[in-house]
Symmetry: C2
Subunit: 119 residues, 2 copies
Amino acid sequence: MVQDTVADGATGDADACCTPLGDVDADAMAIDLQVLSAMGNDTRYELLRRIANADDGVCVCDLEAAVGVSQSAVSQALSRLYAAGLVTRRKEGSWRYYEPTETTVALLETLDDLRGTYE
Amino acid sequence: MVQDTVADGATGDADACCTPLGDVDADAMAIDLQVLSAMGNDTRYELLRRIANADDGVCVCDLEAAVGVSQSAVSQALSRLYAAGLVTRRKEGSWRYYEPTETTVALLETLDDLRGTYE
DNA sequence: GAAACATATTAGTATTTTCTTGTATAAGCT
DNA sequence: AGCTTATACAAGAAAATACTAATATGTTTC
Protein backbone atom coordinates (compact mmCIF):
# COMPACT_ATOMS: atom_id res chain seq x y z
CA MET A 1 0.00 0.00 0.00
CA VAL A 2 1.39 3.34 -1.03
CA GLN A 3 1.27 5.81 1.79
CA ASP A 4 1.40 9.54 1.18
CA THR A 5 3.27 11.50 3.73
CA VAL A 6 3.84 15.11 4.48
CA ALA A 7 7.47 15.80 3.63
CA ASP A 8 9.79 16.15 6.58
CA GLY A 9 11.59 19.43 6.12
CA ALA A 10 14.56 18.40 8.27
CA THR A 11 16.45 16.51 5.62
CA GLY A 12 19.69 18.43 6.06
CA ASP A 13 22.53 17.85 8.48
CA ALA A 14 21.79 16.92 12.08
CA ASP A 15 21.83 19.99 14.32
CA ALA A 16 22.50 20.13 18.02
CA CYS A 17 19.09 19.05 19.25
CA CYS A 18 17.36 18.09 16.05
CA THR A 19 16.70 14.49 15.25
CA PRO A 20 14.54 13.97 12.15
CA LEU A 21 11.01 12.96 13.03
CA GLY A 22 8.80 10.30 11.54
CA ASP A 23 6.44 11.73 8.96
CA VAL A 24 2.71 12.01 9.30
CA ASP A 25 0.39 9.99 7.08
CA ALA A 26 -1.34 12.56 4.91
CA ASP A 27 -4.46 10.49 4.25
CA ALA A 28 -4.98 9.77 7.91
CA MET A 29 -4.41 13.41 8.65
CA ALA A 30 -7.06 14.53 6.19
CA ILE A 31 -9.65 12.18 7.59
CA ASP A 32 -8.88 12.95 11.21
CA LEU A 33 -8.94 16.66 10.57
CA GLN A 34 -12.35 16.43 9.01
CA VAL A 35 -13.64 14.62 12.05
CA LEU A 36 -11.94 16.80 14.63
CA SER A 37 -12.75 20.12 13.05
CA ALA A 38 -16.34 19.05 12.54
CA MET A 39 -16.68 18.17 16.22
CA GLY A 40 -14.65 21.09 17.46
CA ASN A 41 -17.32 23.71 17.18
CA ASP A 42 -19.85 24.80 19.72
CA THR A 43 -22.97 24.29 17.69
CA ARG A 44 -21.94 21.06 16.03
CA TYR A 45 -20.63 19.54 19.25
CA GLU A 46 -23.88 20.20 21.00
CA LEU A 47 -25.92 18.82 18.12
CA LEU A 48 -23.75 15.73 18.08
CA ARG A 49 -24.10 15.17 21.82
CA ARG A 50 -27.84 15.46 21.57
CA ILE A 51 -27.95 13.07 18.67
CA ALA A 52 -25.75 10.63 20.55
CA ASN A 53 -27.84 10.91 23.70
CA ALA A 54 -31.08 10.06 21.96
CA ASP A 55 -32.06 6.46 21.60
CA ASP A 56 -33.08 6.05 18.01
CA GLY A 57 -32.72 9.07 15.84
CA VAL A 58 -33.42 12.73 16.35
CA CYS A 59 -35.26 14.84 13.87
CA VAL A 60 -34.00 18.24 12.91
CA CYS A 61 -36.93 20.04 14.49
CA ASP A 62 -35.88 18.73 17.91
CA LEU A 63 -32.41 20.03 17.41
CA GLU A 64 -33.42 23.44 16.22
CA ALA A 65 -35.21 24.10 19.44
CA ALA A 66 -32.22 23.03 21.50
CA VAL A 67 -29.35 25.07 20.12
CA GLY A 68 -29.54 28.81 19.76
CA VAL A 69 -29.06 29.32 16.06
CA SER A 70 -31.28 29.54 12.99
CA GLN A 71 -32.82 26.60 11.16
CA SER A 72 -30.42 27.20 8.33
CA ALA A 73 -27.40 27.10 10.61
CA VAL A 74 -28.58 23.82 12.10
CA SER A 75 -29.02 22.34 8.66
CA GLN A 76 -25.55 23.39 7.63
CA ALA A 77 -24.06 22.05 10.83
CA LEU A 78 -25.76 18.70 10.33
CA SER A 79 -24.53 18.52 6.76
CA ARG A 80 -21.02 19.01 7.93
CA LEU A 81 -21.34 16.33 10.59
CA TYR A 82 -22.69 14.04 7.90
CA ALA A 83 -19.85 14.84 5.53
CA ALA A 84 -17.38 14.00 8.27
CA GLY A 85 -19.00 10.62 8.80
CA LEU A 86 -20.22 11.45 12.27
CA VAL A 87 -23.93 10.93 11.69
CA THR A 88 -26.18 8.97 9.39
CA ARG A 89 -29.44 10.37 8.14
CA ARG A 90 -32.63 8.71 7.19
CA LYS A 91 -35.71 10.23 5.71
CA GLU A 92 -39.12 9.44 7.07
CA GLY A 93 -41.92 11.33 5.41
CA SER A 94 -40.92 14.93 5.46
CA TRP A 95 -38.79 14.51 8.55
CA ARG A 96 -35.20 13.59 8.62
CA TYR A 97 -33.71 11.59 11.44
CA TYR A 98 -30.10 11.73 12.43
CA GLU A 99 -28.21 9.00 14.25
CA PRO A 100 -24.64 8.83 15.51
CA THR A 101 -22.10 6.66 13.75
CA GLU A 102 -19.66 4.35 15.44
CA THR A 103 -17.02 7.05 15.08
CA THR A 104 -19.11 9.48 17.08
CA VAL A 105 -19.90 6.98 19.79
CA ALA A 106 -16.28 5.94 20.13
CA LEU A 107 -14.92 9.46 20.24
CA LEU A 108 -17.44 10.80 22.70
CA GLU A 109 -16.82 7.80 24.90
CA THR A 110 -13.10 8.40 24.80
CA LEU A 111 -13.62 12.03 25.70
CA ASP A 112 -15.88 11.05 28.58
CA ASP A 113 -13.34 8.59 29.86
CA LEU A 114 -10.59 11.15 29.69
CA ARG A 115 -12.58 13.67 31.63
CA GLY A 116 -13.38 11.04 34.22
CA THR A 117 -17.07 11.77 34.00
CA TYR A 118 -18.14 9.11 36.42
CA GLU A 119 -15.50 9.50 39.11
CA MET B 1 -22.23 17.58 42.44
CA VAL B 2 -23.92 20.49 40.77
CA GLN B 3 -23.93 20.06 37.05
CA ASP B 4 -24.37 23.01 34.72
CA THR B 5 -26.34 22.30 31.63
CA VAL B 6 -27.19 24.13 28.48
CA ALA B 7 -30.88 24.88 28.69
CA ASP B 8 -33.12 22.81 26.48
CA GLY B 9 -35.16 25.26 24.46
CA ALA B 10 -37.95 22.80 23.83
CA THR B 11 -39.85 23.30 27.06
CA GLY B 12 -43.15 24.07 25.40
CA ASP B 13 -45.87 21.73 24.23
CA ALA B 14 -44.96 18.50 22.48
CA ASP B 15 -45.10 18.92 18.72
CA ALA B 16 -45.68 16.26 16.12
CA CYS B 17 -42.19 14.81 15.99
CA CYS B 18 -40.46 16.61 18.80
CA THR B 19 -39.54 14.82 21.97
CA PRO B 20 -37.47 16.87 24.39
CA LEU B 21 -33.83 15.85 24.46
CA GLY B 22 -31.47 15.31 27.34
CA ASP B 23 -29.31 18.34 27.99
CA VAL B 24 -25.60 18.58 27.44
CA ASP B 25 -23.20 19.02 30.34
CA ALA B 26 -21.76 22.49 29.87
CA ASP B 27 -18.50 21.81 31.74
CA ALA B 28 -17.80 18.69 29.74
CA MET B 29 -18.63 20.56 26.60
CA ALA B 30 -16.17 23.34 27.36
CA ILE B 31 -13.35 20.91 28.05
CA ASP B 32 -14.06 18.73 25.04
CA LEU B 33 -14.30 21.71 22.76
CA GLN B 34 -10.94 22.98 23.86
CA VAL B 35 -9.41 19.63 23.08
CA LEU B 36 -11.20 19.09 19.79
CA SER B 37 -10.71 22.56 18.40
CA ALA B 38 -7.06 22.49 19.40
CA MET B 39 -6.53 19.22 17.54
CA GLY B 40 -8.75 20.11 14.62
CA ASN B 41 -6.30 22.32 12.81
CA ASP B 42 -3.76 21.40 10.20
CA THR B 43 -0.68 22.78 11.85
CA ARG B 44 -1.54 21.73 15.37
CA TYR B 45 -2.60 18.25 14.34
CA GLU B 46 0.65 17.66 12.56
CA LEU B 47 2.69 18.99 15.45
CA LEU B 48 0.77 16.77 17.81
CA ARG B 49 1.30 13.68 15.67
CA ARG B 50 4.99 14.34 15.48
CA ILE B 51 5.20 14.87 19.20
CA ALA B 52 3.25 11.67 19.79
CA ASN B 53 5.41 9.70 17.37
CA ALA B 54 8.64 10.65 19.07
CA ASP B 55 9.88 8.57 21.94
CA ASP B 56 10.83 11.00 24.62
CA GLY B 57 10.16 14.59 23.87
CA VAL B 58 10.59 16.73 20.81
CA CYS B 59 12.19 20.11 20.88
CA VAL B 60 10.63 23.03 19.10
CA CYS B 61 13.44 23.33 16.59
CA ASP B 62 12.61 19.85 15.26
CA LEU B 63 9.04 20.84 14.80
CA GLU B 64 9.74 24.11 13.08
CA ALA B 65 11.58 22.33 10.33
CA ALA B 66 8.75 19.87 9.81
CA VAL B 67 5.68 22.06 9.38
CA GLY B 68 5.57 24.86 6.89
CA VAL B 69 4.90 27.87 9.06
CA SER B 70 6.97 30.45 10.88
CA GLN B 71 8.67 29.93 14.22
CA SER B 72 6.13 32.21 15.79
CA ALA B 73 3.24 30.20 14.44
CA VAL B 74 4.74 27.00 15.78
CA SER B 75 5.19 28.54 19.18
CA GLN B 76 1.60 29.73 19.23
CA ALA B 77 0.35 26.37 18.10
CA LEU B 78 2.28 24.59 20.84
CA SER B 79 0.97 26.99 23.44
CA ARG B 80 -2.54 26.20 22.41
CA LEU B 81 -1.91 22.45 22.56
CA TYR B 82 -0.47 22.97 26.00
CA ALA B 83 -3.45 25.03 27.16
CA ALA B 84 -5.75 22.26 25.98
CA GLY B 85 -3.85 19.72 28.04
CA LEU B 86 -2.59 17.83 25.02
CA VAL B 87 1.12 18.20 25.66
CA THR B 88 3.46 18.75 28.57
CA ARG B 89 6.58 20.85 28.26
CA ARG B 90 9.86 20.65 30.01
CA LYS B 91 12.77 22.99 29.76
CA GLU B 92 16.27 21.73 29.27
CA GLY B 93 18.84 24.43 28.91
CA SER B 94 17.56 26.78 26.30
CA TRP B 95 15.57 24.06 24.58
CA ARG B 96 12.06 23.13 25.35
CA TYR B 97 10.84 19.59 24.95
CA TYR B 98 7.24 18.67 24.33
CA GLU B 99 5.63 15.36 25.16
CA PRO B 100 2.13 14.04 24.57
CA THR B 101 -0.29 13.66 27.47
CA GLU B 102 -2.50 10.68 28.08
CA THR B 103 -5.34 12.55 26.44
CA THR B 104 -3.39 12.89 23.23
CA VAL B 105 -2.31 9.29 23.19
CA ALA B 106 -5.83 8.05 23.84
CA LEU B 107 -7.46 10.24 21.24
CA LEU B 108 -4.97 9.56 18.50
CA GLU B 109 -5.26 5.87 19.23
CA THR B 110 -9.03 6.05 18.99
CA LEU B 111 -8.77 7.89 15.69
CA ASP B 112 -6.33 5.30 14.37
CA ASP B 113 -8.63 2.49 15.39
CA LEU B 114 -11.57 4.14 13.72
CA ARG B 115 -9.70 4.57 10.50
CA GLY B 116 -8.59 0.98 10.66
CA THR B 117 -4.97 1.93 10.17
CA TYR B 118 -3.62 -1.56 10.51
CA GLU B 119 -6.09 -3.49 8.44
C1' DG C 1 28.93 41.82 29.25
C1' DA C 2 28.06 41.25 24.22
C1' DA C 3 26.79 38.22 20.52
C1' DA C 4 24.26 34.28 19.08
C1' DC C 5 20.68 31.16 19.70
C1' DA C 6 15.95 29.19 21.24
C1' DT C 7 11.55 30.33 22.23
C1' DA C 8 7.64 33.43 23.52
C1' DT C 9 4.80 37.51 22.99
C1' DT C 10 2.48 41.30 20.64
C1' DA C 11 0.11 43.57 17.02
C1' DG C 12 -1.77 43.68 12.80
C1' DT C 13 -3.43 41.43 8.63
C1' DA C 14 -5.31 37.85 5.80
C1' DT C 15 -8.00 33.93 5.60
C1' DT C 16 -11.50 30.97 7.17
C1' DT C 17 -15.51 29.98 9.51
C1' DT C 18 -20.06 30.58 11.05
C1' DC C 19 -23.96 32.76 11.06
C1' DT C 20 -28.32 35.26 9.03
C1' DT C 21 -31.56 36.24 5.49
C1' DG C 22 -33.76 34.92 1.62
C1' DT C 23 -35.00 31.40 -1.56
C1' DA C 24 -35.63 26.55 -3.30
C1' DT C 25 -37.21 21.80 -3.01
C1' DA C 26 -40.03 18.28 -1.49
C1' DA C 27 -43.67 16.10 1.22
C1' DG C 28 -48.30 16.24 3.47
C1' DC C 29 -52.93 18.21 3.90
C1' DT C 30 -57.41 20.12 2.44
C1' DA D 1 -53.88 22.49 -7.35
C1' DG D 2 -52.64 25.58 -3.61
C1' DC D 3 -51.11 26.09 1.25
C1' DT D 4 -48.29 24.66 5.00
C1' DT D 5 -44.48 22.35 7.04
C1' DA D 6 -39.68 20.37 7.09
C1' DT D 7 -35.32 20.79 5.40
C1' DA D 8 -31.63 22.29 2.22
C1' DC D 9 -29.01 25.63 -0.49
C1' DA D 10 -26.88 30.29 -1.76
C1' DA D 11 -24.94 34.67 -0.98
C1' DG D 12 -23.14 37.90 1.79
C1' DA D 13 -22.02 40.00 6.52
C1' DA D 14 -19.90 39.36 10.81
C1' DA D 15 -16.99 37.00 13.84
C1' DA D 16 -13.24 34.06 14.86
C1' DT D 17 -8.84 32.10 13.60
C1' DA D 18 -4.17 31.52 12.06
C1' DC D 19 -0.62 33.49 10.06
C1' DT D 20 3.56 36.93 9.48
C1' DA D 21 6.75 40.37 11.05
C1' DA D 22 8.74 42.57 14.64
C1' DT D 23 10.16 42.56 19.25
C1' DA D 24 11.03 40.68 23.89
C1' DT D 25 12.90 37.26 27.11
C1' DG D 26 15.92 33.97 28.65
C1' DT D 27 20.21 30.91 27.87
C1' DT D 28 24.64 29.83 26.38
C1' DT D 29 29.22 30.98 24.87
C1' DC D 30 33.06 33.74 24.27
